[in-house]
Amino acid sequence: MNARSQVFDLTMEGLQVDEAVTTIFQTVLFHRCLGKFMYTGDAQYSIGTVGYTDVDCNFIDFTYVCCTSDSLTHKVKRAINLFSEKLRSNESCGSGQISLEFFQKKKNRWPFSQESIPWEVWTVHLDLIKHENEDERQLCRENVSDLLTEKVIYITELMNRHDYVPKTPSQSELDLIFDTSFPDVQPYLFKFDYSTSGSAAPSMGNAMKKIIKETLAM
C-alpha cells in the first residue's frame, strides 16, 4: 500500500485554523470531485456538472474555491471543526495534525469486512501561536495568506501530475471508488483523521492505534 502523501506545516493563531485547513482541503476536494454519474447502462453513464463557489476567509486575507455543495461543505466543516476545537482546547499543547485521506474499498470474501486502501493522503500539521498585539496579528494574517497561496499552487501542481487515481468503475462498483452520498457532487471516497497529541511522532502512535482498532473491528 503506497499512497501518495503530502504534509503541510503551518503555524498560526487558533482562530485561523479552521479557515486555513478548510482552504487546503476544499481545494483538494474541488479537484477530486466529479459530477454525479448517471448510468444509462452498466458501462454507459453521463456525468453531471460541478459548480464552484468563492469563499472569503474571515481571519485570513484569502479566498478559496470549493464545490457548490452544501452537504459536502458541511461534512468538511464539521470534521475540521472537531479537530480545531480539540487543538485549541485547554488540554491541547497547541500542536496537532489533520489529514484528508482518499481511499478505495476492496471487497473481501465473506468473513472479512471491506478493506479500505488509501491512495492519497493530505496532511496539515499545525502549530498554534499567540500574538502579543494587533500589529503582530496583522502581519501574521498576511503571512498566513502568503503561505496558503503557496500551498494552493503546490496542490494544483500535484493535481496536474499524471499520478494514479482509481479507475472509473462500472455502476455496481461505483461505491467502492466514489462517495455517492452527496446529491450534487461525486468525490472520490475520502475521510478525515486527526490527532492533537503534542508528541514528536504522533503519526506512528496513531497508525498503531488505527491498526489495532481496525483489527478489533473485524
Binding site: 474541488f30 458501462a43 464552484y52 468563492d54 478559496y64 496558503l148 494544483t156 496536474n160 450534487d184
Partner: protein
Amino acid sequence: MSAAQRLNAAEKDLEKFIKFLALKSTQVVVQSRLGEKIQTQCNPLAGNDWFNIVVQDHPEVMEETKRALALKPSESILQRLPLCVEISLKTTEGDQMVLEVWSLDLLQPAANGTTANGGATNARDDSKADINGINGESQTLKASHAIYSRMGIMLKSLISLTRTTPAYKLSRRQCPESYGIFYRIYVDRPKVHTLGEGHKNVKIGQLHTIVGSLVMSVAYRTKMTISPTTAQAHQTENNIIMLKSDHFRPATDASSPNTQQMQTHATAVAKKLGLGGLNAALGSGERRCIDIEKPLRPGAFTDMGKLRQYTEDDFVLPETPPFEWLLRGRQRHESTGSGCSVESLNRLDNVASVVSNNMNNNNNHTANNFNHSQNLNNNSTGFKSFEKQQATNGGANSFSPIKSLLIPATAYRHHSEPALEPPPDDDNLLKELHFPFASPTSHVNDLAKFYRECYHAPPLRGLNELQAEISSSSSSTTPASSSSVAACGPTAAAAAVATSAADASALDDLSRQLEQFETSLEDYDKLVSQFGLTGSSSSGSRSSGGLQMSN
C-alpha cells in the same frame, strides 16, 4: 475505420477540446477579475457544460477570445496558440500596470517527454476501455475522454489559482474612484517583460497529447508599488512618446476671416514640413515623433510655418563640430528631398517664433504678394504631383489655393535635370530660412548668412533674368525691401537642387570649415570665397532682406 482515420478523428476531437479549454479559460480568468464573488450551481443531471464544470459564459469575453483567436472555419486552433489573457490595473490618474499574464500554449510533440506520463495515461485509458467493454473505436474515444477529464482538472486548477494571485485581491478591492482592472486577450508569446522585476511564473498544468504538450501557466507581478514615473521613464528610455501627427492642425484649420491670410500661408508651410517629415520618415524608416512641444503651444499670432514636429534626431545634442547639426539637416535634405532643409533650420525657431509676431506678419504679407506672381509660374504637372503627394499623406485638410506654392518644392526632383523651364517659385520657403532670433549683430546671424550662402549654389544665369522680372513685378506691390529677397529665392533653391550632387562631395569639407569659422572670422571669409559663390552679391542681399524681415 483505418488507423489513420482514427488518428485523424482523435486529433479533431482534441482540437475541439483545446478550443473549448481556451474559451473556458479566458472566461474563468476574466470573470475572476470582475471584483465579485462567483457561485455557480452544480447540475447533477448531466449538464452540457464543458469539462463538467459550470463556468458561465460572458458574451463579451467570448467575443474577445474569438476575436483574438480569429479562427477561420478551416483553421485549427493549434496554430493560434499561445493564447494569453493579460490583466492590468489602471488608476484614475492614468497610471497603468500589467499585473499578470495567463497563457495557454502548445509545445510541439518533439519537445515533450511522454514516456512515463503517456504510459500511465494509456494504461488508464485501456482499463477504461475494458470497463466499457466496447470495440476499438471507443478506445480512441476513451483516450480523448482521459484528456477531457485532465483538462477538467486543469480548468479547476485555473479556477483555484485565479483566487490566489495578488491581482485577485486587487480586483476585489477595485472601485471607480481609485483604480480599475482591465483585461486584454491576445495570441502571442506572453509578454512577461511588462510584469516588472521579480515576477513569478507558475505552471498550472501540462497535458501531453498526440498534437503536442498543452501548457497552462501564469506569470504575475510581485512588486505592486506603482510609481507614476515608471511609466514615463519606461517611455522615455525607449523614446516612444507618441506625438499626435496633427498636433498643429486644429489651429491651422480653424481659420477665421481675420487671420485667414496668415493661416493659409501657415497651412501651406506646415503641410510642407509634413511632407518633408513624411519623406524623411520614408527614407529613414524609423523616425518617431516626440512631443516636447505640448507645453510650448504656439502663441496666438505665431506663424505656424515656423513650428515643426520634433523627432528623435532633434534630441541628439550637437557634438563636435559645434554646428554640425546644420549639416545634418543638409544631409537629410539630400537624401530625402528639399523640404527637410527648412526643417533643420527651423529647429532654432521653436522658442523664437512665439515672440516674432511682427516678423511673421511681415513675412506673410510679402509671401502673399508673391503668391500672385508665382501662381502664374506654376505648371499643372507640378500641381498634380502635389495632389498625389497629399493623397498619399492621407491629409484630410482642405487646402487653400496658396497650397500650390509648394508644388515646386515637391517637383524639384523632376527639375533637377538641367532644363530651363520657368523656375518654380519658392519664396515662401526661403522666408523660412531666416533665423528669427538672430539680430543683425549676433553671431548666429553671420552663421545663418553663411549657411544660406553655402546652401544655395549660384543661380543659373537664365534664371537670373527670370527672377529680375519677378522682382520687378513684385516690388511694385511690396512695401518692404524684400522684393529682391523673394525674387532670388526660387532660382537659388532650384540651383541648390541642381548642384546638390556636387555639394555632397564638399560636405565633409564644410563641417571642418564650419569648425574653423567659429574660431576665426577670416577663415569664414576665406571659406565663402573658396566656395566661389559667383552670385554672392545677390545672395547677400537676399539674406540681409530676410534678416530685416525677421527683425
